[in-house]
Symmetry: C2
Subunit: 447 residues, 2 copies
C-alpha cells in the first residue's frame, strides 16, 4: 500500500487487473459450467471451454506470457490502458504482475482441489486397491510410451530422441481433471474411482521420473541415473512417510485445533499443514499437488473432517475455477486449424498420437485383477486426460529445441483433445453404473 | 505450468516462496492472535504484533521491496536460495514475484474483510446514524488536520507545505482495524459500532480527497480544484448510486443464484459482484475496499444472507490474516529506537503528533447529537487507528520529497502507535458496555 518505489506506483492498477481477470474467470467458469450441466455434461468441461473462449484461442481477455503473449495481445490490458491512460511500459509491468498473480492463484487452486480430493479419499479404501492402482499406473505409462515412441520412429520416421520425448508426453494423467469429474458424478468413493485416483497419483510420480529422464536425455544425450534413483527414492519416501506419520500427526492436529479460540481454529491449521506438505513436495522436486493430496489423505481420518470439508468447500469454489479456466485459456486451438498449411503435417501425427493416447490408457482397465464385476472401461477412460502435465512436456521439449514445430503442435493437440474428451467419455462409461448412494450424492464435491 | 520462457523458469520456486510465506503468515497470525486472546486483548492486535515479529523489525522472514528490502534481506529468500542452489538473479526475480503475489493477496484480504463487514452492517441501522457518522467523520478530519498543521508550524517551526502534509496524514482512519475489533467484541451492530463504521467509511472518502489536495499541493504548489470536485462528485455518486441500485440488484442477484446448479451457486455471484464493485471503485480513483463494502451492504438484504455469511467466513479466515500480518511486517519499529541519534528529533515531533492524533479523534465522540446515553469515548477511540491509510500519506510524502527524514519518521511512529494502541483502548472503553445479545455474540465475525 506504500507508494514510494516505482514498482508499487502501478500497485492499484495491478489490483484492478487482478480483480477484472477474476471477474472474467468467474463469468467464464459459471457460464460454461452451467451450460455444460444443462447439456448433461460434466461442469468442469464447461469451465475448460469457458477458458478457451476467454483465452488465447478466441476473445483474448485472458492470455499469458508463457504462450508468447504481450500486454497488447490482452484485450483486458488494453482496456485498462485506455481506462487509466497508462503508457506502454506501465501496462507491460501490470500485465507481467497480473499474469504472475493469476498463475499462482491457479496453482493454489489445484493445490486446494487435491487437498479436498485427499480429504474425501479414504486411506483404507485406497489401500485396498493399492496394487490395482499401481498396475494401472505402470501399464498406463509403459503402453502409451512404447506404442507412441516405436510408432513415431517406424511409421513417421521421427528421430529417436524427439520420438522418446513425444512418447513421454503420452504417459501423463491429469489427476485434477479426472478427480473433479469423478466427484461431480459422485463416483469418487466407488472402487473404480479409488483405483483411478490412486493410479493418477502414482502416474504423477512416474511422470516426474519419466520427465527427468527425457529432459536429461534431451540435454546431454544420456540418462542421469543418479537423478532417477533420487527421484524414485524421494517420491516413495515422501508418500509413504506422510501416510505413516499421518496417525501421529492426526492426533496432534486435533489437539491443536481444539485449543485454538480465535477464528479459523480448524481451517488455518489444516490449510497450513497442506501448504507445508505442498512446499515440501515442491522443494524435493515432486509436484506441490502431491503434497496437498497427501495432507488431505492424512487429515481424512480426523474427527472434525465433516466440519473441515464444509470450510474447505467455499475456498475450493473460489480458487479451483481459476485453475480450470486458466488451463482452457492457455490451450491454443489455433493448432487444430487445418486451413493453416503448417498445421497439416502436425495433424496427421496428432491423429496417431491421439489414437495411442486413448488406446494406451483404455487398456489399463484390463490390467486390473482380483476385482470381478469392475467397470474396466471406466477405469481406462478415467486415465485419458493429459491436462497441464502433458503441456509441461510440450513446453520443455519446445524450450530445449528437441521438438520440431509439427511434432510440438501434435503433442499440444493430443493434450487438448484428451483433456476435453475425457470428461464426457467418463460420464458416458459410468452411466450404466449403479446410482450413487445418498451418502455419496451428498458429498460436498458433487454438484 | 508451461516452462518455455525465462520468466516461468522459476515458476515452481515462486510457488514455493508463496507457500512458505503463507505458512509463516498463518503461524504468526495464529500465535499472535491466540496469545492476544489469552491476555484478553483483541486477536487482531496479536496478528499485527505477529507480523512485526516476522517482518522488517525483527526476524526478517517477511519483508517487502516497498520498504527498501531486497532478496538478500529476506531470510525466507536466502533459505530458498540454499535449498534450491539458486543464483542471485533467480532469487531476486522470485523475491519480486512473491512480494507482488503476497501484496495482492493481502489486498484481496482487506477487500473480503470489508465485504464481510458490509454484509454484517445493516443499511437501515446505518441510515439511522447517517448524520451522526457524517459529523464524526468531518470533525475527525478537520480537528486533527488543523491542530496538527498549526501546531507543527507554531511550535516546531515546520514550513507550511510539510506541515500540511503531516496534518493530512493525521486525518485517516483505518476502517479495517476498527471494524475487525468491533466485530471481535460483538459490538459491530451496536449504535456506537454503526456510527464508527459509517464515519470510517466517510472518513476514507474524505481521506482520498485530502490526499489528492495535498499531493497536488506538494507537486505544483497549488491545489487542483477540478480534481477535488471530481473526487467529491464521483465518491458521492458511487456510494449513493450503489445503495440506490441495491434494491434492484438484490432481486436479480437472488434470481441468478437460484438458477445456478453447479458448485458455488451463491458464493461466486456474490464474490464476483464484490470484485466488480471493488474494481469500479478502484478505477474511479476511490479505494477498492469502499466498493467491496458497498457490495456487502447491498447484498446484506438478500434472503440467503446467513448462508452467504457462512461461506464467506472461511475465505475471510484464509485471506484476512495475510492483510494484518503484512501491515505488521511492513511497520519498521526501528524508527522508535531512541538510541539512534537520527530518531531523536523525530521522537519529539512524534510525541506531539501522537497526542494530536488521539485527542483530535477522541473529541469526535462529543460531536454526536441526538443519541443520549451513547458511549462517546468509545466512538472517539474507535476512530483512532490510522493503519495502512496513514502509511500511504507517509509514503507519498517521502516519494515527493516534501517530508524531511525526522518528520517522515514521526508520521510513521504516529501511524504505528495509533494502530497498535486502538484495539486495546477500544476494548477498554467498551468494557462497561452491556453484554452483547446472544444474536450479536453469534455473529460470524465474533470469535
Amino acid at each position: 500500500m506504500l507508494a514510494t518505489t516505482p514498482e508499487s506506483e502501478y500497485g492499484s492498477w495491478v489490483l484492478a487487473g487482478v480483480l477484472l481477470t477474476l471477474v472474467v474467470v468467474y463469468m467464464a467458469s459459471k457460464l460454461g459450467g452451467e451450460l455444460s450441466k444443462r447439456l448433461n455434461l460434466p461442469p468442469v468441461l464447461g469451465e475448460l471451454v469457458g477458458g478457451v473462449i476467454v483465452g488465447v484461442s478466441a476473445l483474448h481477455l485472458l492470455v499469458f506470457p508463457e504462450t508468447g503473449a504481450t500486454a497488447i495481445d490482452s484485450l483486458l490490458m488494453t482496456s485498462l490502458q485506455q481506462l487509466g491512460n497508462l503508457d506502454a511500459e506501465a501496462v507491460s509491468h501490470i500485465f507481467a504482475s497480473q499474469s504472475e498473480v493469476i498463475s499462482v492463484l491457479a496453482e493454489l487452486g489445484v493445490i486446494v482441489l487435491l487437498f479436498e480430493i485427499g480429504l474425501e479419499s479414504d486411506l483404507r479404501e485406497l489401500g485396498k486397491v493399492g496394487y490395482q492402482a499401481a498396475i494401472v499406473a505402470v501399464v498406463g505409462v509403459a503402453a502409451p510410451f512404447l506404442l507412441g515412441t516405436v510408432g513415431l520412429v517406424m511409421l513417421f520416421g521421427v528421430p529417436v530422441i524427439p520420438a522418446v520425448f513425444a512418447g513421454a508426453a503420452l504417459t501423463a494423467t491429469s489427476i485434477g481433471i479426472t478427480s473433479k469429474v469423478l466427484s461431480e458424478l459422485g463416483q469418487l468413493k466407488s472402487t473404480e474411482g479409488q483405483i483411478i485416483v490412486g493410479a493418477a497419483v502414482i502416474d504423477d510420480v512416474l511422470g516426474i521420473i519419466v520427465l527427468a529422464v527425457v529432459a536429461s536425455l534431451a540435454k546431454t544425450g544420456e540418462v542421469d541415473l543418479l537423478n532417477v534413483v533420487y527421484l524414485i527414492v524421494s517420491a516413495s519416501a515422501f508418500l509413504l512417510g506422510s501416510i505413516f506419520l499421518g496417525k501421529f500427526f492426526n492426533s496432534s492436529f486435533a489437539a491443536i485445533a481444539a485449543k485454538l479460540q480465535t477464528r479459523g481454529a480448524l481451517l488455518i491449521p489444516a490449510i497450513t499443514f497442506a501448504f507445508v506438505m505442498a512446499f515440501l513436495a515442491n522443494v524435493i522436486h515432486l509436484e506441490a499437488i502431491l503434497g496437498a493430496f497427501a495432507a488431505g489423505l492424512v487429515l481424512d481420518e480426523t474427527d472434525q473432517r465433516k466440519e473441515l470439508d464444509q470450510q474447505v468447500m467455499p475456498i475450493a469454489d473460489l480458487l479451483v475455477p481459476i485453475f480450470f479456466v486458466t488451463v482452457g485459456a492457455k490451450a491454443d486451438l489455433g493448432v487444430l486449424n487445418p486451413a493453416v498449411p503448417e498445421n497439416r503435417a502436425g495433424l496427421i501425427i496428432a491423429a496417431f498420437l491421439i489414437f495411442i493416447a486413448i488406446i494406451g490408457k483404455v487398456i489399463t482397465g484390463w490390467a486390473v485383477f482380483g476385482k470381478p464385476g469392475i467397470n474396466r472401461l471406466a477405469v481406462g477412460v478415467g486415465m485419458i486426460p493429459r491436462g497441464e502435465v502433458g503441456l509441461v512436456f510440450a513446453g520443455i521439449g519446445s524450450a530445449s529445441g528437441v521438438l520440431d514445430k509439427p511434432l510440438e503442435a501434435a503433442i499440444i493437440m493430443m493434450v487438448i483433445l484428451t483433456t476435453f474428451l475425457a470428461p464426457p467419455l467418463l460420464q458416458l462409461t459410468l452411466k450404466g453404473q449403479a446410482t450413487p448412494t445418498v451418502e455419496e450424492a451428498a458429498l460436498p464435491l458433487a454438484d
